[in-house]
């Protein structure tokens, strides 16, 4: 329930066209952003979230920190993918947007989705991090997409420079079956420092059962009665029919 103003920096550079995250990196990112906005505004009604792009037409603020979820979701429509992400400028602009927030009591946070390669070297990133720490701005990084050798280290160094009493986090999401947003649900970026919010917990539970891999989402060891439900049983019958069930007592079915 921390009172927070958050600026989300979206990476809409050319690298986001890649499909290694279903359906495309950019779409996965958009879903994740939507979920984060929802979680933030739910955890405290006075929280505000703003969105800006790091690439495309340039570093632009799409919506200044607001608690109106509809406005935030609407601004994500029609975003163009292209050009290169400018991380340093984006963080500066995000800082400025947070500085001019309406409610000065809110804590400042930047969430950066970094899917393209990071062209800055460690020193520059550490300077950026120190400046954020000096101005009491927390930083969360979602490292996904392109992964060259040095990118995770550079971003870890950036977080180390910003971090003060564990308020800043970094999450590395490798490409795979799980959606970007599902992976983020269990991370501190969603759950915040207290380690839980109703929205994140229930969304995490739903995602977990969906991905359990069992038919009808029920583990027969856990709940044998539910596993014997009419739905499961009729499925078994159908399978038996196809296998040549008729050999034994098939007259029933004709």
């Amino acid at each position: 329930m921390v009172l927070e103003a958050t600026m989300i920096c979206i990476d809409n550079s050319e690298w986001m066209r890649n499909g290694d995250y279903a359906p495309s990196r950019f779409q996965a990112q958009t879903d994740a952003v939507n979920l984060i906005c929802g979680a933030k505004t739910q955890s405290n009604p006075e929280n505000t979230v703003g969105v800006m792009t790091m690439a495309g037409k340039g570093v632009r603020v799409l919506v200044t920190p607001t608690s109106d979820l509809g406005k935030i979701l609407a601004c994500m429509h029609g975003l163009e993918v292209g050009a290169e992400a400018n991380l340093a400028a984006a963080i500066q602009v995000a800082q400025l947007a947070l500085k001019h927030r309406q409610n000065k009591r809110q804590q400042q946070r930047i969430i950066a989705f970094i899917g393209s390669p990071v062209k800055y070297d460690k020193k520059v990133l550490e300077t950026i991090g120190k400046k954020l720490k000096k101005n009491n701005v927390a930083l969360d990084i979602v490292d996904f997409g392109e992964s060259d050798d040095e990118k995770p280290e550079k971003l870890e160094a950036l977080i180390a420079a910003v971090n003060s009493s564990d308020s800043s986090h970094i999450v590395h999401v490798p490409p795979g079956d799980n959606a970007l947003s599902d992976v983020l649900l269990s991370t501190p970026i969603f759950t915040g420092e207290e380690g839980g919010s109703g929205f994140a917990a229930s969304a995490a539970a739903a995602a977990a059962t969906g991905a359990s891999g069992f038919e009808f989402g029920v583990d027969p060891n856990v709940d044998p009665e539910l596993a014997l439900s009419p739905a499961a049983l009729s499925m078994e019958e159908e399978r038996g029919k196809a296998r040549g069930y008729c050999k034994k007592g098939c007259r029933r079915y004709f």
């Binding site: 500085k99 720490k133 000096k134």
Partner: protein, 195 residues
């Protein structure tokens, strides 16, 4: 004899209202330590080290403990915001710190809310103090430009650099002395005589 001694005791009490541990501080005549008027919920400090925070320099028992101090984090600058519970007049300020890492240039801003390091140089300060190592160890409050601090709702203290130029600034104690602006004492109000 009795009247004289009680008058002397009263004068002494007025001159040194601070409690026993800080008895060595020469509080200016007619001024009080404004610690009682600080609105603690609004006190903020930018760039402080979280394990050496602003309360170590401001709060009553913590500030006199030599082992507890306020330290800066990323670099040597500090920006301290102190709101007051009522309007005060600021007369003088006392800074205590180590000779090397103690503050050197201190800029004070009256009634400027929520300043950041980026705009701190955009406004002229209400007063600037250049502290020497002597100032940091002697217990004498430094007088401020009284005329600029007649109507203070909040005070912002900007520590620009420290004595030795090191990366970390340390402050043992910050004390502010002044008076409250006269407000109506409700007990003194007398009912207007009905005609």
């Amino acid at each position: 004899m009795d009247a004289a001694s009680t008058a002397a005791a009263a004068a002494a009490a007025l001159a040194t209202p601070a409690p026993a541990p800080a008895a060595t501080v020469q509080v200016p005549r007619g001024q009080v330590d404004l610690i009682d008027f600080i609105d603690w919920t609004g006190v903020e400090c930018l760039n402080q080290d979280s394990s050496h925070s602003i309360v170590n320099a401001l709060k009553q028992s913590l500030r006199d403990d030599e082992g507890l101090f306020l330290a800066s984090d990323s670099d040597e600058q500090l920006l301290i915001y102190i709101p007051f519970m009522q309007v005060v007049k600021l007369h003088s300020a006392l800074f205590k710190g180590p000779e090397e890492e103690g503050p050197k240039t201190v800029k004070l801003f009256s009634n400027k809310e929520h300043m950041g390091f980026s705009n701190v140089n955009d406004y002229p300060p209400s007063d600037t103090l250049e502290l020497s190592s002597n100032h940091l160890i002697e217990n004498k409050p430094l007088p401020l430009k009284y005329v600029k601090f007649q109507n203070v709702r909040s005070l912002t203290i900007f520590i620009e650099d420290n004595q030795s130029g090191s990366d970390v600034s340390k402050i043992h104690k910050i004390a502010l002395y002044g008076t409250t602006v006269d407000t109506t004492n409700m007990k003194d109000l007398k009912k207007i005589e009905e005609h």
